[in-house]
């Protein structure tokens, strides 16, 4: 047995901190840490000095003061006697609302256009290419402003919907069986009413409508029942080789309970009617909201169309041919072979488009829609003069929204992504 003795352990020398790769990373990290912390301390120190000079302090108590301004669109009850915090919440919900609607519309537009752009139809493919290239290469701000200009310049005033008593004809007619009336200030749409509704539970945050709660519960129940039905069909198919017909049962399960619940609650659409100078009865959706929604959806839709197109093209033709060779029908091929693979390519960039749309919704400032920036970063900031607190809080909230969206979508992405073994 020869015992190989290690080289004598040399004592630690200071120069090893720089020249020895084992310790150098430590040195670099410590130096960077000190520099970054010094930088942050410098910024904070400057801020404190500046605040002192201006005679201001740094606190968020202004959020509990009375806001004193009105917000055009509110998803939760709000009056100008509420606090700035409440106003901020209303603005935040408006941001989320327009973002959610925008994401949904943009996805629909994107899928539609992306698929049509691959169509063999020469005219349609060209039209879709023109749409995508035009919207992608021009700033979203222009699309929002153009949407607003279209709505305010080209739509009639509410007064023009008035039925002339002499001739019995209106200057302009409403859309969709007299239910929707675009005007130069707002779009009047029907509102929903439940004639034997159950009322609402009042919480400090917002009243929770029992009617909608019931409908949502019915929907969840239907979805669960539908899944059970499909699972059962699978079992039967596995056992006997024959798949029982499910489509009409699915349709019945999905739609039946909701319709029954809605009818039981006395679901009714209140159509807007011109009374005096304005439409009443329905809901008047401000043009600012519609313009922002339209502009964001059309712009982001063009990007999503490209993502969808790339995703479909990324699935090689051999996959489809192999599925056909196995005897799968075209729609089964699409749902079982092509889509799962295309989704894997589509989802990650789609997430970042959703994030972009949400961040772009802060362009509400261009049309005067009261989103988070309009309330907290706009009127609250101007009224209280607390720009430091307001803007930092606003950035923090946007950051939270972004991180939440990307977190949720990443979870989804993990479920569809390729499982590598």
């Amino acid at each position: 047995m020869t015992s190989a003795s290690d080289a004598p352990e040399p004592g630690f020398r200071l120069s090893q901190l720089i020249y020895d790769t084992r310790y150098r990373s430590l040195t670099i990290q410590v130096v960077t840490f000190i520099l970054v912390m010094a930088g942050i301390a410098w910024l904070i120190d400057n801020t404190i000095q500046n605040l002192n000079q201006l005679g201001k302090d740094f606190n968020f108590s202004f959020l509990t003061n009375r806001a004193g301004y009105d917000i055009g669109q509110q998803l939760i009850p709000y009056t100008n006697d509420n606090t700035h915090a409440r106003a901020m919440l209303v603005g935040l919900l408006n941001t989320l609302w327009v973002s959610a609607l925008g994401c949904a519309t943009a996805t629909v537009i994107g899928i539609f256009v992306g698929v049509l752009r691959l169509s063999k139809n020469w005219l349609v493919a060209r039209l879709m290419t023109i749409y995508v290239e035009t919207f992608r290469n021009i700033p979203v701000l222009l699309w929002i402003l153009v949407s607003l200009a279209l709505l305010t310049e080209l739509t009639p005033s509410p007064n023009e919907y008035r039925i002339n008593p002499a001739t019995g004809e209106a200057g302009v007619t409403m859309w969709l069986f007299d239910s929707i009336a675009p005007t130069n200030r707002y779009t009047a749409v029907p509102s929903v009413e439940f004639t034997h509704g159950l009322g609402a539970i009042n919480t400090a945050f917002a009243p929770i409508s029992l009617n909608y709660l019931l409908i949502v519960m019915a929907l969840i129940g239907s979805f669960w029942a539908n899944r059970r039905l499909l699972a059962h069909a699978h079992q039967v198919q596995d056992a006997t080789g024959v798949r029982p017909t499910t489509w009409w049962k699915s349709l019945l399960i999905l739609l039946g309970p909701v319709v029954v619940v809605a009818l039981a609650l006395g679901f009714k659409l209140n159509e807007p009617e011109l009374k005096g100078f304005n439409f009443v009865g329905g809901t008047n959706v401000s043009n600012a909201f519609v313009a922002l929604w339209l502009g964001l959806s059309l712009y982001t839709g063009a990007f999503i169309a490209e993502i969808v197109r790339a995703g479909i093209l990324a699935v090689s033709k051999g996959q489809t041919e192999a599925a056909f060779a196995l005897g799968l029908r075209p729609n089964r091929t699409m749902s079982l072979v092509v889509l799962p693979q295309a989704l894997r390519v589509i989802v990650p960039p789609l997430i970042s488009q959703f994030l972009n749309l949400t961040k772009n919704s802060s362009l509400a400032i261009a049309v005067g829609y009261m989103d988070l920036r309009g309330t907290l970063g706009g009127i609250t900031l101007n009224q209280t003069g607390r720009e430091l607190e307001a803007i930092l809080l606003m950035m923090l909230i946007y950051l939270m929204i972004s991180l939440t969206i990307s977190g949720v979508m990443n979870v989804y992405n993990n479920t569809v992504k390729l499982k590598e073994r």
Binding site: N46, S119, K120, N137, L141, L145
Partner: protein, 438 residues
């Protein structure tokens, strides 16, 4: 069986029949129409819908274009001219506004007699870009690319030549110090490269500048930042932002890929923070908060403040693009660099970054396009961008009150041309630079 067949063959044609013309549905325009527009009921329906759409758009907008007025001095004159030529109720585009105000869309309120300066900067931009884009050109031209930013700043804002020269001298001194000291110790060289210019700018520039200005007062007429506007402003912020963000983005990307925990954490936090907030909030930081964060009494130019924040914004996005490039490099490239015994910076400089940056070029170009579009947001901090600031200013003039579509179309068309050509160029680059790494 076979003989009966053979015997029953009473007649064999020896001459070929002349080829018949293909059915009319299988040739020429008809075939093209059948294949491309009417291949089945769904396809035909789509075609008809598409045709209807085109027809509607054309019938709505063509008359408006046909009634264009180019010579007028106000909206009222435009309307009068349209009514005079095409009768009551006719509407027409009033391009006369563009003819009268085009210079504001392009240059903002830059003094007209000095227009040659932004034009020169724009032309020189391509001279500076040429050696970077085309490797066939002589390498000497890269020298001009390096000093171009300072030349551009001096030409755009004007004033004395000395401050800009001092900045250049500072960089030069830093480079010199690094060259001299790198023979002794690389650490010392890096520290000197940072410290020497900083010390020079902090202590030597003031007296030197005064001295040189009093001896040799060379300078051109200064132009204040509030005279900037239109596409001049958009391109200045866009190009300035992307040029400054590239080095920062590379450092952030390397930091995010680093093995060192703290470096990685700082990079990730910075990138995710910037990417998580809308640009508009960062612009508000530039206009409202930056003065809080800097030493009391500091108050500098709004365009510079916006540019700092835009740079940070672009850097975070560019870092992600470059990280993609770094991740796309095969592992073997890193391992080969290690096997050759290169240290981290040499490996990055000679092996990793040249390849990673090449892969990222299309991404960088699309980031630039996105940023160029986003420069229109500076309108919300009171700058005159071409999309909202300038048209709003023009509409505030009584003569052009109520002109909506013409500025949108004009500015939109310019944005489209610039961005579309850039995206096509990046697609061309992508094809040209494609090397399969597998």
């Amino acid at each position: 069986m076979s003989d009966t067949n053979a015997q029953s063959t009473a007649f064999v044609r020896e001459a070929m029949l002349p080829a018949k013309p293909a059915p009319v549905t299988q040739v020429g325009a008809v075939r093209w129409l059948r294949e491309n527009l009417f291949a089945g009921p769904v396809n035909s329906a789509l075609t008809l819908i598409g045709m209807f759409l085109v027809y509607t758009l054309v019938t709505h907008f063509y008359p408006w274009f046909r009634h264009s007025v180019w010579n007028a001095n106000s909206m009222a004159e435009c309307r009068a001219a349209v009514t005079a030529s095409f009768g009551d109720g006719a509407t027409g585009a009033c391009w006369a506004m563009i003819r009268e105000r085009w210079h504001q869309f392009i240059f903002g309120f830059y003094p007209p007699e000095l227009y040659w300066r932004p034009i020169a900067v724009f032309v020189l931009l391509f001279v500076a870009l040429a050696p970077i884009l085309f490797t066939q050109l002589p390498r000497v031209m890269l020298g001009f690319s390096v000093i171009y930013p300072l030349v551009a700043i001096w030409l755009l804002w004007g004033g004395s030549i000395w401050p800009v020269t001092m900045v250049a001298v500072g960089f030069g001194l830093g480079w010199l110090a690094m060259r001299r000291l790198s023979a002794y110790s690389s650490i010392l060289a890096i520290v000197a490269a940072v410290l020497v210019p900083v010390l020079f700018w902090l202590f030597a520039v003031g007296p030197l500048d005064d001295l040189l200005t009093s001896v040799l007062p060379i300078g051109i007429e200064p132009v204040a930042s509030d005279r900037f506007g239109g596409f001049l402003l958009a391109i200045t912020i866009g190009v300035g932002g992307i040029v400054m963000s590239l080095p920062l983005g590379i450092i952030l990307a390397l930091g995010r890929q680093s093995d060192m925990f703290l470096i990685k954490t700082f990079s990730v936090v910075f990138i995710e923070f910037i990417r998580g907030v809308p640009l508009i909030t960062l612009l508000f930081v530039a206009s409202l908060l930056l003065n809080y964060f800097l030493p009391p009494g500091t108050n500098f130019d709004i365009i510079l403040r916006v540019m700092i924040l835009v740079t940070m914004f672009a850097a975070a996005y560019i870092a992600e693009v470059i990280r993609g490039g770094l991740a796309a490099l095969p592992r073997g490239q890193y391992e080969a660099a290690d096997a050759l015994g290169l240290d981290y910076w040499k490996a990055q400089r000679l092996i990793i970054l040249p390849q990673a940056l090449k892969i990222s070029i299309p991404g960088i170009v699309s980031t630039f396009i996105g940023m160029f579009k986003d420069t229109t947001l500076v309108t919300f901090v009171g700058l005159f961008d071409p999309l909202k600031g300038i048209p709003d200013f023009i509409r505030a003039d009584f003569n052009w009150k109520g002109i909506y579509w013409e500025p949108f179309i004009f500015v939109g068309a310019i944005f489209f041309i610039l961005n579309f050509s850039m995206s096509r160029y990046s697609m061309y680059l992508e094809r040209k630079l494609k090397r399969d790494h597998r």
